[in-house]
Each structure stands twice: as C-alpha cells, then as structure tokens.
C-alpha cells in the first residue's frame, strides 16, 4: 500500500504524463522534418555569387529551416540559392509548416480538452488543500444549505473545501464572495478517493459535513470519512428516521433532520416564545435581534402540509397539546387525533372549512413555494390578524418571502446551516443551547428582561463570543487574578466610558476547569483562572470588553476607579 504522500504524488502526476504522451508524435514529426531538411540543405552544393562551389554550414542550414518553418522567410542567405537548393527548399517549406501546424494543433487540442481542464483544476485544488495550514472542514454537497453554511463559517474564520458533482454548483462555489478562495472538487462526494484528495487525512482537517440532499450519499460520505480518518467529526444531514438511526449507529457526531428541526422550532415558538427568541438570536450569525412573538393561546393552528412534515407536525402538536387543524390531500395516519380538511389550502373555502376565523395562526408548510405563498396570502386576506408562518423551500424564492410581511419564515437550508454552525463554532454555545432546552420559559424571560434593562438602544445588534481566561486571550484579567485580587463577573461589565452603569452584556454560561458548569451565573460570582465564559450582548459592548481584557493596565485602572476599596 502506498504511504500518504507517495499516494498524493502518484495521483497528481498521472494526468499530466498521460497528456504528454499525446505530444510524442507531433514532437517526433518536428524533429524528423527539421533534421531531414537541415541535412538536405547541408548536403546540396550551392554557389557563391562569384560562382565557386559552396556548402551551407549546419548553423546556416538550421537558421534557414527555422525561419522557413516559422513562415518568417528572411530570404536566401548567405548567397542566393541555385535551382537544386530551391527545389529542396520547396519541400522544406511544406513539410516543416505542416509539421508545425500538426504540433500546434495537438498542443491546442490537449489544452482545450475538458478532461485536461478538470484534471488541472483538480490538481490545483489538491495542492491548495495540501498547503492549508489552518483548520478546515470538508463540505460535501453544495446546494442552498452548503451555500449558507460556508458563509456562516467564513464569518467565524473557518475554512471549507467544497465537493459537489454538479458543475453549476461548483462554479457557484468558485464565484461566491468569501474572505478566502475555497478549494473545490467537481466529483461525486460519495467516492472515497475524493475525500482523500480533499484532505480527509490532513492534520488540519477538522471534519466532514455531508450535506447532499440524498440520504444514501450522505451515508456513504459519513462511513467513508469514519473509516478513512476515525478522529474526524462527521456531521450529516438526514431526511428520514431510518437514515438518522443508521448514521448514529456508527457514531456520526451530529445528525440534523431538517423536518424534525423545523417542527421542534415551531413547537418552541408557540410554547416557549422567549426561549425561541433567544435561541434564534444565538444560533444565527446574521440575525442579531431579539423578537419575541406574543401569541394568544385561544385559537387553533391551521397547518397546510403534506408528507413526512405533516406527520411530524401533527405528532409534535398533539404531544404538546396544541390544538390544530391539518389541511392536506391525504388524511393523517390516525384521523382521531386531530381535525382534518381535504385540500391544499390555497383556496379560501378550504381555509374557512378549517376554521380560519377562530385560528391563531397558519403554517404554510408544503414543499412548493408557490403553494405556500398562495396559502398565506389567501389566509391573510381572510383574517389579517393571523400569525403567519411560511416555509421557504428554495433559496431563489427568498426575495418574495422576505417581502411578504410574514411573521416567521422557516428555511430548511438555513435551519440546517444554523444547527451545524452552532455546533462547529464554539462548544460553549452548543453546551448552553442544551441548557436552554431545559430552562423554563420564565427564566429566559428574566434574562431577556435583564438584557433590555441594560440596553439603551433597542435596535442595536446583538452578538456573542466565547472567552477563556488564559494569558493569551485575557491578559488583563489573568494578571490581576495572579495578584490574588478577586474579580467578580460584574467587573468585566464595568463601562470604561461610564455611559451606562453596566455594559449591556450578560454571561450566559461559565464552564470551569474543575468541570463545574454554571448556566446564567450572577454578577457576584468570582472568576477563576481558566474559566470559559460565553458572553452575550450588544456588539459594541462586547468589543469594549474584548479590548479591555486584553490590556492589563487599562483593565486594572478601570476596576479600581469604579471600586475604590479594591
């Protein structure tokens, strides 16, 4: 078996050599015509202008043949040719020019060969991957989800290598505006070789993201990655419970089922609106606002959906005790659990039959964007106060949905990208989201209340960042702690400009070296060296904190000034 690097060299050199083979015959044709032409010129006797016999030297002959072959035609030098030389030159002209045309034609045909281009870009990508000296992920399948995720990861300065079998998507990956140029591979991602080429066994590779729309392919990517490089994290998308179980059975770290994730969010939105708002803000790097939906409990929900999504929604809503009426072409599996109206929901009569006038909201969750838009527009016509939830399937319809003034838009690709990004970006956030699941909504309401109390401008952007109290990341805090001073969590939030009593930021989670995990710590908590903090707040406030913890002198002065007893 070939060792890693040998293997690379082998697969890299192969195509170029194969193409060189094609250049053999034109090169030989050139050499043969040139040599015969030169030899002829050297052997044929000429005459000087005085009439004495003269033989061309090899240098003269090579010169004459070269300019004739290149169609430059400098003339008959050093002396005018005689008839026998001219006869030979005729032969030389035609044969060498034809030989050149043949050679140039072969070279051009090699260069314009699509296979050659593919191999060349593949090789370029391979060497790009080999030269990666920072962590990267392999993103297999570049549809809307991959497109979204690569942008999220770029914001967090995490690189990706893209693999897809569709040339259009690969072009899209090449053209996408990122802070770096991603290495792209046009190939079937389920082939093990392509994983090796894209760097699955490189030391900087963090993991593999299987994001194709087909379960069987995702499964193959996950198994290949697991076998080729067992230390890697494998994240996969899955469309069925069967595939999810299968992926989990061999230790795939994260499996995201978009339908289940969307249903989970719907239930969270209805039952725990504050948690939903906080979750939404934290998980999406592009959505930086808190928007809590106040929903009345009185009415029922009209759900227009089909297939597996409708089954999952009905199951979850019935479990949570949320009243619903399903509008679909086929009846639910167990018709006794909920009301059912036959139809798509695009017509007013169907919606009226589903009791739209008494409904709290409508969820347009079919797999057709046109139907979804039509459902919501009809429903809002019937009852403008309705809470509207749209499911947007294709990213190309984003523009219409965004202008549709709907209360909530569920985007399958974005949900997958968010869920995966939250798990890739920082383990701390992932840990906190786990705690958030179990928190009562009233506690989350308090956190949001505390935050809005500290904020002066409601509309400013929110952000979060993870911080470890080490000399590298927070020299200010660490130096002071080493002087045996006590620093409370609240001390981090002292505003150096004294504009506000406390900066609008909250520590969501502290994970200590002694394995203590403290969700929502109070401001009086003493900080300890090595603490990992997840800070959440206004972006501007977080920037001030970042700046001050990096400056030992300023940090100490800031604390002392605000607390003279220290």
């Amino acid at each position: 078996m070939l060792e890693g690097d040998q293997y690379w060299a082998h697969s890299k050199s192969e195509p170029i050599w194969l193409l060189l083979v094609q250049l053999r015959s034109p090169l030989i044709a050139l050499i043969v015509t040139y040599s015969i032409s030169i030899l002829g010129l050297v052997l044929i006797p000429g005459e000087t202008d005085l009439g004495s016999p003269y033989y061309l030297s090899f240098l003269d002959a090579f010169y004459a043949v070269s300019y004739t072959a290149m169609t430059v035609g400098f003339g008959e030098i050093p002396y005018p040719f005689n008839q026998s030389q001219r006869l030979w030159m005729l032969l030389v002209m035609y044969s060498t020019v034809i030989a050149w045309l043949y050679a140039i034609g072969s070279i051009l045909s090699v260069f314009s060969d699509p296979a050659f281009h593919r191999i060349r870009s593949q090789n370029r990508s391979i060497s790009q991957v080999r030269s990666h000296n920072e962590p990267f992920w392999i993103l297999c399948g570049f549809d809307d989800t991959g497109f979204q995720l690569i942008q999220f990861l770029d914001q967090a300065k995490i690189r990706c290598v893209v693999v897809d079998e569709d040339p259009e998507r690969i072009d899209c990956a090449r053209l996408i505006n990122l802070s770096y140029e991603p290495a792209v591979f046009l190939s079937d991602p389920s082939e093990p070789q392509i994983l090796v080429d894209s760097g699955v066994s490189r030391p900087h590779c963090c993991g593999v993201l299987a994001l194709t729309g087909r379960d069987q392919i995702n499964l193959m990517i996950a198994t290949n990655a697991r076998v080729l490089s067992p230390r890697l994290s494998v994240y996969s998308r899955s469309n069925t419970d069967f595939s999810t179980r299968n992926l989990r059975s061999f230790g795939t770290e994260v499996v995201i089922d978009p339908n289940r994730a969307i249903v989970h969010r719907l239930v969270q939105m209805i039952r725990r609106p504050n948690t939903y708002a906080l979750h939404n803000e934290l998980i999406d790097p592009d959505f930086n606002q808190l928007s809590v939906h106040q929903l009345s409990d009185l009415g029922h929900w009209i759900i227009c959906a089909s297939g597996r999504f409708s089954e999952l929604v009905v199951e979850a809503f019935v479990r949570e005790g949320i009243p619903l009426c399903l509008v679909s072409r086929e009846p639910p599996e167990d018709p006794s659990v909920c009301d059912w109206v036959e139809g798509v929901g695009t017509e007013a009569i169907t919606l009226r039959e589903a009791g739209i006038l008494n409904a709290t909201g409508v969820i347009a969750g079919t797999t057709d964007d046109g139907d979804n838009l039509s459902i919501l527009l009809t429903a809002l016509e019937e009852k403008p106060a309705l809470f509207s939830v749209a499911r947007r399937n294709r990213s190309s319809s984003e523009l219409v949905f965004r202008h549709g003034q709907f209360n909530e838009i569920l985007r399958e690709d974005r949900v997958i990208a968010q869920e995966m990004f939250a798990r890739i970006q920082t383990p701390l956030l992932n840990q906190f989201l786990g705690h958030l699941e179990a928190m009562p909504d009233s506690l989350v309401f308090d956190i949001i209340g505390k935050m809005s109390h500290r904020r002066s401008v409601e509309q400013s952007e929110l952000d979060h960042f993870a911080l470890v109290l080490t000399a590298a990341q927070a020299p200010g805090v660490v130096e002071l702690l080493q002087k045996e001073a006590t620093i409370k969590l609240g001390d981090l939030l002292i505003d150096p400009l004294r504009e506000q009593p406390l900066l609008p930021a909250i520590c969501l989670l502290i994970a200590r070296l002694n394995a203590d995990v403290i969700p929502i710590p109070g401001d009086e908590l003493d900080l300890v060296l090595g603490d990992q903090l997840l800070l959440w707040g206004e972006a501007e406030a977080l920037n001030r904190i970042k700046f001050f913890i990096g400056r030992p002198d300023l940090f100490e002065a800031n604390i002392k000034e605000s607390d003279p007893l220290l």
């Binding site: 192969e14 083979v21 250049l23 053999r24 030169i38 030899l39 050297v42 090899f58 240098l59």
Partner: protein, 126 residues
C-alpha cells in the same frame, strides 16, 4: 512484441553506435570526427528522448533522465562546434578536444540507457 519497446531500443542503441563512431579517433584531430555523424547522433538521441516522454514507470523516468543528459551534452558539443567554426572561423585542436569530450560524456549517458534497458530485459526473461 511491444512496438514501442522496439523503437526505443532501436533509437537508443543507434544513438550509442553513432556516438561511438563520432567519438573514436584522436581527440583533437578534426579529420577524425565527422560533423554529420554528430548531427545524426543528436537527432536520434532527441527522438529517443521524446519516446520516453510521458512514461510513468520508474524505469521510464530514469531512461528519460539519462537520454536528457545525452541530449544536453550533444547540444553543447554542437553549439561549441558551430560557434567556433562560424564565428571565430577556425576549429582549433583544443576546441575539437572539448567537442569530442562532450560527445564522449553523452556516449556514457547513452551507454547507461542501454545498460538499464538490458538489465530490464534480462529481468523480464526471468
């Protein structure tokens, strides 16, 4: 029988024999060394090189290298000859000696190619 092998063996052995014919004689005597022979040696050696371009085997790579060495030496010899006879107008014994010694070096490279080819052939027989 592999036609490609025949052609390569033919050209590499021909390059060696032609080179030997050119090389033999008093090293600094222009009368003992034929310019046509050097020309033919160079052409045949170039063809042998091209025949090995694109050969991915280990032996192919080594043969390509040795025949490239031969080409380089022969081109240098031809250039020196051309320069001294055309530009300075006179091929001195010292220049002739350096031309022939360069060709001798090329012959050694050709000899290496032939030895490699033979050793490979003998291994195949086993």
């Amino acid at each position: 029988m592999n036609t490609q092998r025949v052609w390569f063996a033919f050209f590499i052995v021909l390059a060696l024999t032609l080179n030997f014919g050119f090389f033999i004689g008093e090293i600094d005597n222009p009368l003992h060394h034929n310019s046509y022979e050097l020309f033919l040696t160079l052409v045949v050696s170039l063809i042998a090189t091209v025949l090995k371009v694109g050969d991915r085997s280990h032996m192919g790579a080594v043969l390509l290298a040795t025949s490239l060495v031969a080409d380089l030496q022969l081109i240098m010899a031809a250039t020196i000859w051309g320069y001294s006879s055309e530009v300075t107008g006179h091929v001195s014994p010292a220049v002739m000696a350096s031309i022939v010694s360069l060709a001798g070096g090329a012959m050694l490279a050709n000899l290496t190619s032939v030895v490699l080819l033979l050793s490979e052939t003998i291994q195949l027989k086993r």
